[in-house]
Amino acid sequence: MNSAALIIAEVVPLVTPETTFDVPANVVFAVQAVVMIFAALRVVTTKNIVHAALWLVVVLGGVGLNYILLQAEFVAVTQFLVYLGAVIVLFLFGVMLTRAPLGVSDDLDNNQKKIGIGVGVALLAVLSYALIESFGRSELTFAAYEGVAGPNTNGRTQAVSDAIFGQYLIPFEMLSLLLLAALIGAIVLARRD
């Protein structure tokens, strides 16, 4: 369901800024949004667990494409590297290592379907409200990029790194610590001795 929420977050803020987006970008966004919604639905409705993971590739790749449309090149490449190159690969790896029957399996559903739908709708409502409330019909401004050079330069990557290692240094380091703790925890749980 996470992926569905992700797409919703991407699709809802249809603020249609006239100047930042040009027509080709809008067309690409429309096509990619439809593909992503279809793929996200297939993730939860397909009867084959590996197919579900592969549909997730389409969804997460679409998110990366979305970042490119928003002119956030560094974030887009990170999306491809981390989600497609590592997270999905670990999904597939884990699924294939444990059980990955070819063909249809009937035991992929459980009795939490209704709760899942509820959570998904609630998330959609909260995110839509938050985004519309904060941005309304105003144009996206790319605040971090103001004053730096356009595409094909390092300016935007530098803006991202300045933000991470300046303004947001403490949250960033806390997240690193959290990940490290989770990593050590996983090793402790997995060790047999």
Binding site: V57, F74, A86, F93, G155
Partner: protein
């Protein structure tokens, strides 16, 4: 290749899509020529001489048309899908691997303007795109409905993830030195650099980043699943790993992808560590001329580095699976991290 280059030669103004089409087509030609050349030079001839034999001699002068004959043979073969396989996934898996390879070539510069797309995130983009091939390999292994194929795909998954880390960490040293992710900036930083004030050959990063260069080459060897890291397709253990059920054109696609990736990584290594398309030192050559000389420079460097990969491939026996993982996690990654720390300190001090 760009307006600046084509104006004097063709004398016409090009629209964006025309320029992009020309760039992509030239990039594809360069990719296939280099890949074919590397296969003939190393897989057919170099290894034959290492093993005291002549290699292919019949097709064309000195066997030089052998690769075309092989391609013709593969194209004629029947396209077989096994009974239980997942037909669609099995069919598109080679395309995923090939797409990942082709996308790597997009940002590799061969001259001041001779690049398909000069992205700001250059080297990061290359590494991200190279990591996508694992998805195709896992798809192939699973959809083949063959336990050897699945085992091979799982080995490939574990290996490629493990060696992606030293690969990326080895590059960080160069990025710190050059202060940019953009490959053109990295090339410029090397040609503008100086060795203790001497600017004769610039400052290729192989001199200051020799540790990073070594780690990068070892990791590339593993990413390419070439011996001594060829566990995913180990023919004596897994028949042919994830490729076991493939025939004809789909096998050909894997073959092209394997060697094209070798060329791509070699070109990236030459750009990062050997000065890229620049001539050593400032010769005062115009940008237009460098667009013609640059591709020759980077091709030469890349083909020589592919030679190193094959030299190692045909010299060393295969590692064990646990030795492979130990080398990545216990040797290469700590070494690469130490290299980053030292590079960072040196960057601040000097």
């Amino acid at each position: 290749m760009t307006q600046a280059v084509l104006h004097p030669i063709l004398g016409l103004e090009l629209a964006y899509w025309q320029e992009t089409t020309i760039r992509v087509l030239l990039g594809l030609v360069a990719l296939l020529l280099l890949t074919g050349g590397a296969v003939y030079l190393y897989l057919f001839k170099f290894v034959s001489f290492m093993q005291s034999r002549l290699g292919p001699m019949e097709a064309g002068p000195y066997g030089s048309m052998q690769l075309l004959a092989e391609v013709g043979k593969w194209l004629q073969k029947e396209d077989i899908f096994t009974e239980d396989s997942d037909k669609f996934i099995f069919g598109i898996a080679p395309a995923v691997v090939l797409a990942s390879t082709f996308l790597m070539f997009v940002v590799i510069p061969a001259g001041p303007n001779a690049v398909v797309a000069d992205l700001g995130t250059g080297i990061y983009f290359v590494l991200a795109m190279s990591s996508l091939s694992v998805i195709g390999i896992l798809m192939a292994g699973w959809a083949s409905a063959n336990k050897y194929a699945l085992m091979g795909a799982l080995r490939a998954g574990g290996q490629l993830i493990a060696y992606e880390l030293p690969l990326i960490l080895a590059v960080v040293g160069v990025v710190i030195s050059a202060g940019s992710l953009n490959l053109q900036d990295i090339v410029a930083a090397q040609s503008d650099g100086a060795i203790f004030g001497w600017t004769g050959i610039g400052n290729p990063y192989i001199l200051t980043q020799i540790v990073g260069f070594t780690i990068f080459l070892i990791a590339v060897q593993a990413e390419l699943t070439q011996t001594p890291f060829d566990m995913p397709i180990a023919e004596s253990e897994l028949v042919a790993g994830y490729q076991v059920e493939y025939t004809g054109i789909r096998f050909l696609v894997y073959f092209i992808a394997e060697f094209a990736t070798a060329v791509a990584f070699a070109a990236v290594a030459s750009t990062l560590f050997l000065g890229g398309w620049q001539l050593p030192g400032a010769w005062g050559i115009s940008d237009g001329a460098m667009n013609a000389i640059g591709p020759i420079m980077i091709s030469t460097k890349a083909v020589l580095l592919v030679g190193v990969v094959f030299w190692v491939r045909f010299s060393l026996p295969r590692f064990r699976e646990d030795q492979l993982q130990k080398l990545a996690w216990k040797v290469l990654i700590p070494l690469a991290l130490a290299n980053i720390v030292v590079t960072g300190v040196m960057k601040v001090v000097f």
